[in-house]
Assembly symmetry: C4
Homo-oligomer: 125 residues x 4
């Protein structure tokens, strides 16, 4: 049974990579993650566009998520076509050629103890 579930376009209005960290890396390095689930039987070709407050969007960033796999992509590690600057508000749109599910998580360890947040992304029609 093909388990392809979700939507082909998602949006995350919040985005911010904290500027510094406490604790051992990489586990407790401040980071922001785009968690993608491809539960179907075909690979997902994913394009991410990143929006800012004061300049044109960056991207698309391209990743492939194999069938029946998840990918927890750290925005911090995106390099091509350009890194996402720290301490800068951004937002993102995630598009795929097959249905996927997207969740957004941040770990902020700027102070001695870490803080977490997570939310389902917005599933576009």
């Amino acid at each position: 049974m093909d388990q392809a579930i979700g939507r082909k376009r998602w949006a995350i209005a919040e985005g911010y990579i904290p500027g510094w960290s406490h604790g051992p890396a990489p586990e407790l390095e401040s980071h922001e993650t785009c968690c993608i689930l491809n539960a179907g039987d075909a690979p997902a070709q994913v394009r991410i566009t990143v929006y800012f407050e004061d300049r044109e969007p960056a991207g698309p960033y391209r990743v492939e998520v194999p069938p029946r796999r998840t990918l927890h992509l750290r925005f911090n590690e995106l390099r091509d076509p350009e890194p996402i600057p720290k301490e800068t508000p951004y937002a993102s749109v995630i598009e795929s050629d097959v249905p996927i599910v997207v969740q957004h998580t941040r770990l902020d360890s700027r102070q001695a103890e870490n803080a977490l947040m997570s939310t389902i992304a917005y599933p576009c029609e």
Copy 2:
């Protein structure tokens, strides 16, 4: 391709600006943010109405989000027509003339280490 995505009306039932902070401002000042993404090609005229427990609503607060931009608006910084009081439960409705995506985030640094929460807002029909 016009990427206008989202809805024209959103609601956030939670709202509370903590009364004090630890750590360097503005990054670690306690705050509450309304993150707005306008992925389309037309500017978004946004109106925010703020609801309280024991008085008539405040607003509308008006902001413009340019095309292909995000705005991470701190409720703490709203001034016109009136500031939102600290340590007071509130809720908000965000309306736009074009589709947008809205997410709600709070950073609470009242104690020595900060705490975070975030959720997608409610996309109204």
Copy 3:
């Protein structure tokens, strides 16, 4: 213009009132909140049913949210027909005679620094 928005039935699958607290009460007392927004012009008669892992549901708990008001209801403070026990997993269904919007938040101050979480509730069809 009547701004009645949302749904008449919502569900929150998570619920847990921490057993102890650090920091000044009531701001930093561990608590769990059901944030309700009634943006419409009629009062909302709200009924909350609380589900447990090992007994029949409690309630209904009844509250009224006036027109154009929010209510940030602490589950800890519910008394009638019975208090909700601490340190006990629960879930809740929130029903209203007019459309409302519901969000769920927990502040956990069991350790020296507080932790926060929040999510939109599930809007039932």
Copy 4:
């Protein structure tokens, strides 16, 4: 009145069991929870499939949620057919024969103070 509410299939794209903990167990042991509400009058037969980044999915894990009950299931405690490894990104799909509501929560106590996150899961069509 039968209160069966929710959906028969849900997805959680985020999943990660922290590798260590501070504070008294089990309350403050790092854990990840799948909160399930079965508000209906029939028992829910639930199947959970867990997806990874680099291997085929695990499961199904099977649990029953009785009528009018909630279950706050810790992913850490799943054993059959295999435990979920710590410090490993995963995602999950939750399927039921009757409608349920699903929410995802993590308590991370790797540092001295705990951090929390929670979100409604994605309700599949």
